[in-house]
Amino acid sequence: AQSVTQLDSQVPVFEEAPVELRCNYSSSVSVYLFWYVQYPNQGLQLLLKYLSGSTLVKGINGFEAEFNKSQTSFHLRKPSVHISDTAEYFCAVSESGSNYQLIWGAGTKLIIKP
């Protein structure tokens, strides 16, 4: 992938409200898509991945994402957020035929308001 764009650097949302974190990418070949989460003072944890098959993928902690090839997007959603979801979320892409190195978005900080 040539680039990955996460348009929102921060997303504030009230607890129990739904949230969508946006991710768009540009690539001329097939891609594999990932969302990672970094909780405060922790490492990167794989949240979910799209490799092939159904475009709607479910991950841990109630998150899901939908791959839209025509719009080159892979937005992350959760219907109801909890205070424990406070973290930074990263979208990453690797291209088929590559060594699978990840190309990263800038990250989105999810801020949960009580």
Binding site: G43, Q45, K49, N99, Q101, L102, W104
Partner: protein, 111 residues
């Protein structure tokens, strides 16, 4: 199953000194990657090992960085001599297929 581990978790050194970061991948994972996040910037790929061989080191910033993977197990990343712009968080990841699993990172501060 143990995850990816990295040592040290933090390192503070002075400009011109040498630092060596270590990564122990998940047992059985042939692929090992190093990434770096400089403050305020995106996470960037540094290099990729398949077993003990460097598959791609196109992301290494310059020849002050040297990575090795002894016997296809753990990997080290040495910075010599360190410069101010080397400060950041260094992540290691391992994989057997396409999904990469990350360690907690090493926060390097060069003063």
């Amino acid at each position: 199953e143990a995850g990816v581990t990295q040592f040290p978790s933090h390192s503070v050194i002075e400009k011109g000194q040498t630092v060596t970061l270590r990564c122990d991948p998940i047992s059985g994972h042939d692929n090992l990657y190093w990434y770096r996040r400089v403050m305020g910037k995106e996470i960037k790929f540094l290099l990729h090992f398949v077993k003990e061989s460097k598959q791609d080191e196109s992301g290494m910033p310059n020849n002050r960085f040297l990575a090795e993977r002894t016997g296809g197990t753990y990997s080290t990343l040495k910075v010599q001599p360190a410069e101010l712009e080397d400060s950041g968080v260094y992540f290691c990841a391992s994989s057997q297929m396409r999904a990469q699993y990350f360690g907690p990172g090493t926060r390097l501060t060069v003063l």
